[in-house]
């Protein structure tokens, strides 16, 4: 079908996107690699000098770095766990016949459309605040001491806020997948005497596996670089208790003006993301072909 004429035209049409993305990948990344070997602070312009691997050894021996790695993974895994389990439960519920299904769907989807800074500030002030927050009021109602979420459990609080934002996404995708499950198969299993639980394990869950893979892939991309939620709630603190890798590099670059150190951190973040991406791409590559 493709003649020589259309094939070269096709190349020409793909070229702008490929070149732009290539430039977007290579130019800044090459600069980051270059900076990461310099002693370069924005407050001391003109003092740049070659620093070898000292930025890397500074970053890799910083206790905050290990805390940040741990927090990054905790956020990704915590949110994935809540959203996948919660998403499956919600999708199963919403798949049942009920009155006003469309409206419930609209309600459930809403958090995904909220910009991260708004979501985080609303949760921080109007719900988690230990004095005026709604949670504090509920705690007092039951005669309990209000809990200062962001001071005492900062990482958990960030995970909760982010999970609230992503639960709708997981639900929506799993629900879409669920609706393509053959009704007759379910009925046949039921007639054969399969219990609701075994129908779920042997029929529904395998059917959802592709959708679950996609949820994990997409969410991981975004969750590895959670930023705004941390910036407006805890600012990475107290100490570095809720600092993830993205926030750590941001702080090094734009709060301490340490270009060299931040670049080394950025490169480490890219390497780690690539390790994760390597496995994810193999996963999605398989599911997309299936």
């Amino acid at each position: 079908m493709a003649t020589l004429h259309t094939r070269s035209a096709a190349r020409l049409m793909i070229a702008p996107s490929v070149l732009l993305l290539l430039a977007w990948m290579i130019v800044p990344l090459a600069m980051t690699i270059y900076f990461s070997f310099l002693r370069y602070n924005l407050l001391m312009p003109g003092m740049e000098e070659f620093a070898g691997f000292s930025n890397y050894s500074y970053f890799l021996t910083d206790p905050a770095f290990f805390q940040a790695i741990f927090n990054t993974l905790a956020i990704v895994l915590g949110v994935l766990f809540i959203t996948v389990v919660g998403g499956i439960a919600l999708a199963l519920l919403l798949d049942q016949p009920m009155f006003g299904q469309g409206i419930v769907r609209i309600l459930v989807i809403a958090p995904f459309l909220i910009m991260p800074t708004v979501a985080a500030l609303v949760w921080k002030n109007m719900f988690m605040n230990p004095v005026n927050g709604l949670f504090a009021w509920v705690a007092k109602l039951f005669g309990l001491q209000p809990f200062d979420f962001l001071a005492n459990a900062p990482l958990m609080s960030v995970i909760l806020i982010v999970a609230w934002q992503w639960l709708p996404f997981a639900t929506l995708i799993l629900l879409t997948a669920l609706q393509s499950l053959d009704e007759e198969q379910k009925e046949a299993a039921q007639m054969d005497g399969a219990s609701a639980w075994s129908r779920f394990i042997y029929l529904t869950l395998p059917h959802l596996s592709r959708a679950i893979t996609v949820v994990i892939l997409i969410q991981t991309i975004f969750l590895l670089s959670v930023f705004a939620e941390i910036l407006v709630t805890t600012n990475g603190g107290p100490g570095t208790q809720s600092t993830n890798l993205t926030f750590l590099v941001y702080a090094q670059a734009l709060l301490q003006f340490d270009v060299g150190g931040a670049s080394a951190g950025g490169i480490i973040a890219v390497i780690l993301a690539n390790i994760v991406a390597f496995f994810l791409m193999r996963m999605i590559g398989k599911t997309l072909e299936a």
Binding site: A110, I114, L121, M126, I173, A253, G266
Partner: protein, 276 residues
């Protein structure tokens, strides 16, 4: 059998689902309601859900405090601008990959997706310096450029999955009838592709509107879109819940409404067509 669900069961499920739905939606509802309270009422204990004196004063105060409309316009320009430019670049590419696929098409698509996996923070420093040195820092143009680049892979993927469903035979027929490449695109492909393009447009406006890494780091007073405008409320300052709520409501309302209309596209776009 499964179709004759008893009304009783349906009622129970309705109640449970509505309760959970309202719980999930509650923070947004609460923000909306609080925006019409006075500051004193916003932190009153016990809090009142509906029975308070409604006031719109907060909205005016938010506007006078930091010129909400300028930030709103920044958001509009940045999200629409980056999406439209992205579409112009992506449509030919997606078209070519969908209709003249080669052995490498799959790899090219995968590679494009992989650029999305590079953590933004890895290139924060050079982007910041490049922007500072070229005067793009805190400009709408700068934000449009960055958001175009970060959303381009998603735009291409989404268009690709839509275009692939257009039957190739129709194009061949047009070609046989002597339509040139340009005519083929304008008269045959475009009308069939418009729904897909519209969905892509919608989803990417939502993504760009809510993007909060680059917009926070590369903008200050001048070009700050709503994400950054709201972040300016992050340091507590006396009584501010009602004002925060009003600002938040104004920041999320347009996109919330747009998003509700495009649930299906959301799924399709963000899963790159892998779940239908």
């Amino acid at each position: 059998m499964a179709r004759n669900v008893s009304t009783q069961r349906k009622l129970v499920i309705t109640v449970v689902a509505w309760t959970i739905g309202i719980l999930i939606f509650f923070p947004i509802l609460w923000t909306f309601l609080t925006s019409f309270k006075t500051e004193a009422e916003a932190i009153a204990s016990p809090p009142s859900l509906l029975f308070f004196e409604w006031t719109t004063e907060n909205y005016f105060e938010v506007q006078s405090r930091s010129n909400y409309f300028r930030h709103f316009m920044n958001s509009v320009v940045v999200s629409f601008g980056s999406t439209l430019i992205g579409l112009v670049i992506a449509i030919p590419s997606a078209w070519a990959m969908a209709f003249s696929p080669t052995k490498r098409t799959k790899d090219v698509l995968m590679w494009m997706l992989s650029t999305k996996m590079m953590p933004s923070v890895g290139v924060l420093v050079p982007m910041y310096l490049l922007f500072r040195n070229t005067g793009l820092l805190d400009t709408r143009t700068g934000l449009v450029i960055v958001l175009t680049l970060i959303n381009l892979p998603i735009i291409i993927w989404m268009l690709y999955t839509y275009f692939k469903e257009i039957p190739g035979e129709i194009l061949e027929a047009a070609r046989m009838d002597g339509a040139s490449l340009a005519k083929e695109i304008i008269y045959v492909l475009t009308p069939m592709a418009i729904p897909g393009i519209a969905s892509t447009l919608l989803l990417n406006i939502i993504l760009a509107w809510n993007e909060a890494f680059w917009t926070l780091n590369l903008s200050a007073a001048k070009a700050a879109p709503l994400t950054a405008f709201i972040a300016s409320y992050s340091s507590p300052e006396g009584l501010f819940y009602a004002k925060l709520s009003a600002a938040s409501t104004m920041a999320i309302a347009p996109i919330l409404i747009l998003g509700w209309f495009s649930q299906k596209q959301l799924v399709r776009g963000l899963t790159f067509g892998a779940v239908k």
